[in-house]
């Protein structure tokens, strides 16, 4: 089965939307400081303003510009999302392939650890650990990555186990190839679509988790993020102002997750022939 992820994505409108949206968000996040009219944390005397020419999306309770906060929030979300997913994917690739190829006691021990992690709901662990550690952004990313590789590792191990038995890998072995060579030269290239999908879902999960934690108020309060914006806005729900304040981060978060899902969904369809529509073939 030769899967070409590029081609699959190009044929799906959902995925194209996802890519477009994600690119748009990335550009905004990267060029954020150039685009924002105000510093996201600088306070003005004008609190609770509705959208106006000066403040396109209005201001919050301490007079901070919501558009600026939204743009900076995109930076946080995407940074956490991509970095966490990248770390988790690398970890799952290393652990999945190494357990599959090495086998033995190492495989048994690592897989039991994975089982344990999968049984424990990650969100509760993170809430508890975060409550104790009061993590800054980097620690949060590490924490999310450490809790996010297990499912991927299991999938990759299963795939690597079946790849391991394939003729071309036996052939490479019969030339005297080491496990490392086999992983890098033969197994990883074959796993690219799966790794890509794991990465995409990792992004989605991390973006969502980061927003959720901030929303619950367990994140670093000095970091501007969509979750934090919603957390703060919610305190003022008895006032009429929350609409201009709560809806923008909510919509941004939804669009981000939707676009990532779009890409992931298409890739998943491509990988599993049962989900493949005839028209796409």
């Amino acid at each position: 089965m030769h899967i070409n992820p590029k081609q699959e994505i190009r044929h799906s409108k959902f995925a194209m939307f996802g890519i477009g949206m994600l690119l748009f968000l990335l550009i905004i996040a990267i060029f954020g400081p150039l685009l924002t009219p105000y510093q996201p944390n600088s306070q003005t005397p004008f609190a609770f303003e509705s959208p106006s020419f000066n403040h396109w999306l209005g201001t919050n309770h301490v007079g901070q510009d919501i558009l600026s906060q939204l743009i900076y929030g995109a930076r946080t979300s995407l940074l956490v999302g991509f970095l966490t997913a990248l770390l988790a994917t690398i970890l799952s690739a290393i652990i999945g392939t190494s357990t599959a190829l090495a086998g033995g006691l190492y495989d048994k021990i690592v897989m039991r650890i994975v089982d344990a992690f999968i049984v424990i709901p990650a969100i509760i662990v993170i809430i508890l650990v975060a409550a104790y550690l009061k993590p800054n952004l980097l620690v949060l990313i590490l924490l999310l990555a450490l809790l996010g590789w297990q499912g991927g590792a299991r999938t990759i191990r299963a795939q690597a186990l079946s790849l391991k038995e394939m003729g071309h890998i036996s052939a490479a072995r019969s030339f005297g190839a080491s496990n490392l060579y086999i992983i890098f030269r033969h197994i990883l290239p074959d796993l690219v679509p799966i790794l890509l999908m794991g990465f995409i879902y990792g992004v989605r999960r991390a973006v969502f988790m980061e927003a959720g934690l901030a929303f619950l108020g367990i994140a670093d309060p000095t970091t501007v993020s969509w979750g934090m914006m919603m957390h703060e806005a919610l305190d003022f729900c008895y006032l009429n102002v929350w609409r201009w304040w709560l809806i923008p981060p909510g919509v941004a978060l939804s669009l981000t997750i939707l676009s990532v899902t779009g890409i992931g969904h298409t890739l998943e369809g491509a990988l599993d022939p049962r989900l493949r529509r005839e028209a796409n073939a």
């Binding site: 394939m166 003729g167 036996s170 052939a171 072995r173 019969s174 030339f175 005297g176 030269r185 033969h186």
Partner: protein, 553 residues
């Protein structure tokens, strides 16, 4: 009765015989086998002291040193106690005498009988050699080649010699005449010793008790003829036998690479030998007694390249490989035959270290294989069952063939690419840029199989395990791949472990066959024997089930 000690014969600078040691007891017969130019005729002539080159060493005939005897004494011996039947080349008989006279002459010359008596005895002799009475007064040119040969033999045995030297006695005869003359020779010379020189292995086998294999003026192997010919131990002897067509072997004829060259240093066979090592290039191996056979080889004859002892593999309740003991010798093909599920591929994978054995050992040239490093895989390579599967779809032909070199870190990039092109030509594939950049799914089945062979061979292994290499191919491709493997074996001295379910294919390619059933080797032996007289019921079943083109009535 006859003993040669360090016999050397040279014509000018050219040494024809080089330190021949031989011993022949009363009534024993010895065949000297060798390709043309090996020195057979010179050996025969030197026993009669008829060579015109310079002769060194000793020839002791019943204690007499033939080389130091005066000329008259030699004349007395020649044709009387030592008789010689030359190769019949149409001019050895005197054209102006009748054949009866020629036989009688050799009798009168030595036994001093009167002519009448000699004539009488000659006619008895001639008729015993199958010449009809009405031909006795014929002249040689009136006889057929076969009849002339018989006359020569009659002359040689006229005086009941103690030693009869037959130089290519029957190579000019047709097959039925040959059999007849062999019978005659055996019959008439029951108590005489004889030496037969021949390039014809089957004559040697039928006539002589012992054979000596002569190569470039030296004896390379000496032993009882049945043993030497059924189980040659010197690489040259095996090569000779492989060249020889007979009705019982099925294997295609294979030559020996190169040509005979007397001027090489060290063992004169080493340029053509498939297991030559450093010492073979430097020193001349003496003829030594090794395990009941005289062999002149630094390596003690054909080496056992890979052997397994008590090798077993258990998958849960299934004993897939059960205490297998096989040996693959250098340069030979061992066919492993059995139906699918008999454990053939498992055995191959055990040898390759792709799966771990439950029990047993594997030896590569007598050293136990435990941790297979890169150097093991440089010596032992495998062609996998399904060529399409064993080629990664991501790699081009160049990358595929180069992969083994990359892994083994052989040479620089340029060197590797050069080796790839070279091996592709060797397996009869194009080495063009376009072909090198092809991906496997664009190749035909035959091309894919050749690519898998090429990538195994580029490491120059000594043993190639071929797991059903032709099972996926149609018969015309199958034939080509089999020929290719045989050619590579001849050129590189490759040992082959050829795994197949088809005993008909095994017959065409193997020297020996091992039959496998339910993980056990039920029978193994020379291919000829397994095919013609299978000992195990399962082998018979396989043979009967094999492809057969003959039509039922």
């Amino acid at each position: 009765m006859l003993k040669l000690e360090a016999l050397e014969v040279s014509y000018g600078e050219k040494k024809i015989l080089n330190g021949i040691d031989l011993e022949l007891k009363d009534g024993e017969s010895l065949a000297v086998i060798g390709e043309s130019g090996a020195g057979k005729t010179t050996l025969a002539l030197s026993l009669m002291r008829l060579v015109d080159g310079s002769v060194k060493g000793k020839i002791l005939f019943n204690g007499l040193d033939l080389l130091s005897l005066p000329e008259e004494a030699i004349n007395e011996l020649r044709g009387n106690r030592i008789a010689w039947a030359p190769q019949n080349s149409n001019n050895t008989l005197n054209p102006v005498h009748t054949i009866l006279n020629q036989v009688a002459e050799s009798i009168t010359e030595h036994k001093l009988k009167n002519r009448r008596e000699a004539g009488k005895q000659a006619s008895i002799l001639l008729s015993s050699f199958g010449i009809p009475v009405n031909r006795f007064s014929a002249y040689p040119h009136q006889l057929s080649g076969g009849e002339q040969q018989r006359v020569l033999l009659a002359i040689a045995s006229a005086n009941q010699p103690e030693l009869l030297i037959l130089d290519e006695p029957i190579s000019s005869l047709d097959a039925p005449a040959r059999a007849e003359v062999i019978e005659l020779l055996k019959h008439t010379n029951q108590d005489c010793s004889f030496i037969v020189t021949t390039h014809d292995i089957s004559t040697a086998a039928k006539l002589a008790d012992k054979v000596a294999i002569l190569y470039a003026g030296r004896i390379v192997e000496l032993g009882l003829s049945g043993e030497v010919l059924s189980r040659p131990r010197h690489p040259y002897t095996r090569g000779l036998i492989r060249c020889y067509p007979d009705m019982t072997t099925g294997k295609d004829l294979q030559g020996i690479k190169g040509v005979m060259d007397r001027s090489v240093n060290g063992c004169s066979f080493h340029p053509r030998c498939t297991q030559a090592i450093e010492i073979c290039r430097k020193e001349i191996p003496p003829l030594r007694l090794i395990q009941g056979r005289h062999i002149a080889c630094h390596r003690g004859g054909i080496i056992p390249l890979l052997s397994t002892k008590n090798l077993s593999k258990r998958f849960d309740s299934l004993l897939a490989v059960d205490a297998v003991k096989i040996t693959i010798e250098g340069g030979e093909t061992l066919a492993l035959v059995g139906e699918s599920g008999s454990g053939k591929t498992t055995l191959a994978k055990l040898i390759m270290g792709l799966i771990e054995p439950t029990e047993g050992e594997i030896y590569l040239e007598d050293s136990l294989v435990s941790n297979r490093g890169k150097d093991f895989y440089r010596q032992v390579q495998m062609i996998f069952q399904n060529p399409g599967e064993s080629l990664s779809h991501r790699l081009s032909v160049l990358e595929l063939v180069r992969e083994s070199l990359d892994i083994q870190e052989i040479g620089a990039r340029d060197e590797r690419d050069r080796l790839v092109r070279q091996v592709l030509r060797e397996v009869e594939l194009p080495d063009s840029e376009a072909f090198l950049n092809e991906y496997p799914h664009h190749l035909s089945a035959g091309e894919m199989q050749r690519v898998t062979i090429a990538r195994a061979l580029v490491l120059e292994p000594r043993l190639l395990i071929a797991d059903e290499p032709v099972a996926f191919l149609d018969s015309s491709l199958q034939a080509k791949i089999l020929k290719l493997l045989l050619k590579l074996q001849e050129q590189r001295g490759l040992s082959l472990l050829f795994i197949t379910h088809d005993i008909a294919v095994a017959r065409k390619i193997s020297d020996r066959i091992a039959v496998m059933k339910d993980g056990k080797i039920v029978e193994q032996g020379p291919a000829t024997k397994i095919i013609t007289s299978p000992g195990h019921a399962y082998t018979r079943k396989l043979s009967q089930a094999a492809l057969d083109l003959s039509l039922e009535d």
